[in-house]
């Protein structure tokens, strides 16, 4: 007889922060207290609040324990489960008050979310197909088989679902194009090559709710007339691959894959293809080449994959999050889907909240949620009382949303107007200490590195742009560098072969647009206003404030600071490596950083 269930978040972040050892301690404690048969431990997918991990939730109360370590996990058993006493030290402390939250329902990070894509993540055991079924899993497929391909596609079209991989292309149109395309066989592909730095919603879905993707792909196969599907997952996601493999096996055992699915006469099966981690393989034409076993390099569109995709055959390719939306749409209908979100971008979007924000992790909110709600209500604001400066969306393909637009509802179209893209949902929060030139350089470095090298503008152009950015952050920029960046950026956008190149200049062009003064400060004044660019930084001693305690001189790793005891010290600029340790160690505020 089971009286309690312990849900341990076994998402990637929690595993990294020690989930397995916590679980071992809990298992041991249960045995020690003789209640191992009364309490069941279930490892779930990601619960989203990744900076709070490892997370343990005790049911039936739903008590939410965070930052559990092997050292402090014992009392969850000995106190809570044995004695009925909540372990208050492990509860989440509300950011705005001293009170502690008992359950997820009391934490604003959770309460403001609308979980549709992540409906099962952190709730069910991803290895259990039965638990998926219990949460209405495979009922969408049942419905789909009943209503037939045309009605499925009509429902998806009416729902207004748009591709969650980045560009926001209407999913229904893709499905219809693949269905209408002549050519046989057809294929269904899932793009799980999540590559944007900081984005991990697709991994979380594959790890936490793999059946939702499988179910959607079977529905898609039935809708377009395909018998084979491929899930392309990057090799850096071993847990996702492992759980997907288990899920595929179970789905086959249950007859959701294979021959004559649910007695419908429809045959479909799915294979996993593992990508080697090239960013460009997230671009659909490159991804298809990679599945074919060729070098993952993009080709020009048209022809679109729906016309000529895998091995030249009509191919439907959608991203993980897009697929995860499909089964509930089939069950609940298009109207239900449109009940949240904006008119042109209905539904929810999962964001990976990161950077200078209190609560980081995965959050799912209705489209049209404002940045302010995301950053301040769900994210808990900026740590250390610093000022919000901007949010980087769309990873290396995106740009910045500035403080001026905090109250703008975010959807596919509104972010586009600001020169950025929704992308896969990475949302990096930047504060006053972030140098926008430096941020743009960081993303550009990423695309330079990940460019496949096929077309000239992307291969050569991004590299040239990067060198200009490097020059600017080194304090060697020239006044016409901004013009050169704009021209190069324009040509790269207009003539690159694929989305990677076409969007690579976005971070630079976006920061030039919104933060021109920062660029000018770097170029004209040789200063970095955010004090982030090392080459433009100087540390000096304010002699009036310096008491000659020698702390800085002792701390300096390169002996750049000299001075006698009780006399003002001096920093030799030629030797200084700008490590900032003097600044950190000075108790008299006598080091000036500028």
């Amino acid at each position: 007889m089971i009286r309690n269930q312990l849900l341990i978040c076994a998402g990637g972040a929690c595993i990294t922060s020690g989930e397995k050892s916590v679980k071992d301690v809990l298992v041991e404690e249960l045995a020690k207290n003789g209640i191992q048969d009364e309490v069941q431990i279930i490892e779930t997918g990601c619960m989203g609040a990744c900076d709070l991990g490892p997370i343990v939730v005790v049911y039936p109360e739903g008590t939410f324990y965070q930052k559990v370590t092997p050292q402090n996990a014992g009392p969850i058993v000995s106190e809570h489960l044995v004695k009925g006493r909540v372990v208050s030290g492990l509860l989440y402390r509300q950011p705005t008050s001293e009170t502690r939250a008992q359950t997820r329902e009391e934490i604003s990070f959770y309460t403001l979310q609308v979980k549709r894509v992540l409906r099962n993540c952190g709730v069910i055991d991803p290895l259990s197909i039965e638990e998926y079924i219990a949460r209405d899993g495979y009922f969408g497929l049942g419905k789909a088989l009943e209503i037939g391909p045309d009605a499925i596609i009509q429902t998806i079209q009416e729902s207004g679902l748009r591709g969650r991989g980045g560009a926001g292309f209407p999913t229904g149109i893709k499905w219809k194009a693949a269905r209408d395309a002549s050519g046989s066989p057809k294929y269904v592909v899932c793009n799980g090559d999540e590559g944007d730095p900081g984005a991990f919603m697709d991994r979380s879905v594959l790890e936490g709710d793999p059946h939702s993707v499988i179910e959607a792909m079977v529905i898609a196969g039935f809708a377009i007339g395909a018998a084979t599907g491929y899930v392309y997952v990057r090799a850096e996601y071993p847990l996702a691959i492992e759980r997907l493999e288990v899920a595929l096996t179970r789905a086959r055992e249950y007859g959701f894959l294979g021959r004559n699915i649910l007695g419908s006469g429809f045959d479909f099966d799915i294979e996993i293809r593992i990508g080697a981690g090239a960013f460009v393989c997230g671009e659909e034409t490159a991804l298809l080449r990679s599945i074919e076993g060729k070098r993952g390099m993009p080709s020009a569109k048209p022809p679109f994959p729906a016309q000529a995709g895998l091995w030249g055959k009509p191919t439907l390719i959608n991203n993980v999050e897009t697929y995860a939306n499909v089964p509930p749409i089939l069950i609940n209908g298009a109207e239900w889907f449109r009940s949240v979100g904006t008119a042109k971008s209905p539904g929810t979007k999962v964001f990976a909240l990161a950077g200078k924000v209190q609560n980081t992790g995965l959050v799912e909110v209705p489209m049209g949620t404002t940045l302010r709600e995301l950053v301040f209500d769900i994210g808990g604001g900026i740590p250390g009382g610093k000022a919000f400066k901007g949010a980087q969306t769309g990873g290396p393909s995106g740009g910045i949303i500035t403080a001026d637009y905090l109250d703008m509802p975010i959807d596919f179209d509104s972010v586009k107007e600001l020169g950025t893209i929704m992308g896969s949902g990475g949302l990096i929060i930047l504060d006053e200490d972030n140098c926008m030139v430096d941020v743009a350089k960081f993303y550009l470095a990423f695309t330079v590195d990940e460019s496949c090298g096929k077309c000239t503008p992307c291969r050569e152009g991004t590299k040239q742009m990067y060198q200009i950015m490097e020059r600017i952050t080194d304090g060697k920029g020239t006044p016409n560098d901004i013009g050169k960046l704009k021209t190069l950026g324009r040509v790269i956008q207009q003539t690159s072969l694929c989305g990677l190149g076409q969007s690579a200049p976005n971070p630079v062009l976006s920061t030039i647009r919104f933060f021109p003064d920062e660029y000018r400060a770097h170029i004209e004044d040789r200063k970095c206003p955010a004090h982030a660019c090392l080459h433009l930084l100087t540390y000096s001693v304010v002699s009036e404030k310096c008491v000659g305690c020698t702390a800085c001189a002792r701390q300096c790793p390169v002996q750049a600071i000299t001075g006698q005891v009780k006399k003002a010290h001096v920093i030799d600029q030629a030797t200084c490596i700008k490590c900032g340790s003097c600044y950190e160690v000075c108790r008299f505020d006598a080091i000036l950083k500028e």
Binding site: S451, C452, K454, G461, Q494
Partner: protein, 592 residues
Amino acid sequence: MEMRTLHVKINGRDYQVPDGSTILEAASAYANIEIPTLCYLEGISEEGACGVCVVDVKGTRNLPRACLTKVSEGMEIWTNTARVREARKINVELLLANHPTDCFTCERTENCDLRDLASELGVREVEFPRTRTEWLPIDNTSLSLVRDPNKCILCRRCVNVCAKVQSVYAIDIAGRGSNSTVSTFLNEGLGNVECVNCGQCLLVCPTGALTERSEIPDVWKVLGDPDKIVVVETAPAVRVAIGEEFGMPDGTQATGKMAAALRSLGFNKVFDTDFSADLTIMEEGFELIGRIKNGGTLPLITSCSPGWIKFAETFFPGVLDYVSSCKSPQQMFGTVTKTYWAEKMGFDPRKIVVVSVMPCTAKKFEKERPEMKTAFHYWQEKMSLKDEEAFNDVDFVLTTREAARMIREAGIDFANLPDEDFDKPLGESSGAGVIFGATGGVMEAALRTAYEVLTRKSLPRLDFEDVRGLEGMKSATIDIDGTPLRVAIANGLGNARILIEEVQKGESPYQFIEIMTCPGGCLGGGGQPLSNNPDIKKRRAEAIYREDAGKPIRKSHENPEIQEIYKDFLGEPNSEKAHHLLHTTYHDRSGE
């Protein structure tokens, strides 16, 4: 089916163009606008890598590539807007930023597509600095080709030709982004991988990144050595192409001027590989006859093309028994010169230097094959030669381009030279030897002889039109006095692969197959002049067949010099001596 036409506007004017045309094709054929291209090669390299052919299309944010984008109904195309000019220029500048600026000394100084394009687009200054931090090592591993990756602009034409036309896949892109290079398996170098040395990559390279391994300095050196007897042999396809190097019209028969120019360079004897082509026909024709009469292995597959031989050794070792054991005309020539001719003239074979002028880069590899020292073995015992004195049958191979370069360097006014004849006795040839230079030529030449030998009748009509033409694959059934002989011809190794796979499976319906490595046969060889004329192979082929038609003797067995060499030296075709000197062996390279 009726071709649908679409209404498009190009630069403001209305045109009707066939459905399925690309913007590039439509602009060229209907609007007289030649949109610049760099990486594009029709039907072969259509990847849109370079970003030069971009155009403005109304309603699109980006600039589509004219080479890949198909026209659609109502499309409005602008080929010359400010942003188009900016984009083309910047993309070329980006390529130039990392391209070496040693144009003065580059082999392609006179015919570099990249330089032409930069000039055409008015690039007068490269705004961008070099971003590559190091110079890459030059690939010198091949006996035929040299790759300078620093001059490579990653247009991928070579990769596509190697894969799509030749099905060899010796080269591909390695590395990523700005570190990408064209490379071989594990960067082992062209000489250490499956490369068959055909040089098709070189022909399509827009820059000086691919060149032949030059033997010009070696040849100059021997020409200046009074102790050497330096003879030159010229392949059939050279005479119909070398004129292009001197501004003569495409398809000029420059046989006499070529002989005059080579003599003027200082060669002691100017001979003709066409002579040994006739010799090849005697040997190969009789081999075919023998196999047919004695129930030998069929089909017989020709062996004159060294790229094909390495291809077979590498990919199809199982079919080597089908391949004729005859050496190629080049190698037969070298052997005969250093045995028969040396004996006849009383020359010390060690003093004879054989230089061949070939339309081919693979011949540079072929002459170095260890089997190709037959003359040395012939003399070893007679002259008590030591092993270390071994010499090749053929000493140096010059491509058509290299020969032209030497002629230019010597200041010879090629186009205005009075015609001269080849030297005797290795200079006489029949029309059958001449047509070796075109795809189907070896087949036709062999048929002329085989027919007459088999039937003991005179051929009613010499021209076998069925086996002529530049198509990649041809087949025909030849009536040999009531007995049908099924023959097939392939040029380009991608086509050859199809025929050979049938042979490998034992399903080939043919008795005789001619394989030429290069598209069009030797006239399209990797050693030929670079040309921008899409009809160049046709022009060269026409010249070859004109040359054949103008020959007084058109059948190999009727060549008096051939009759003489058998009478005086070899005995009869396929005699033991002929086998010893003119035939060779192959080996399995699939494991290499």
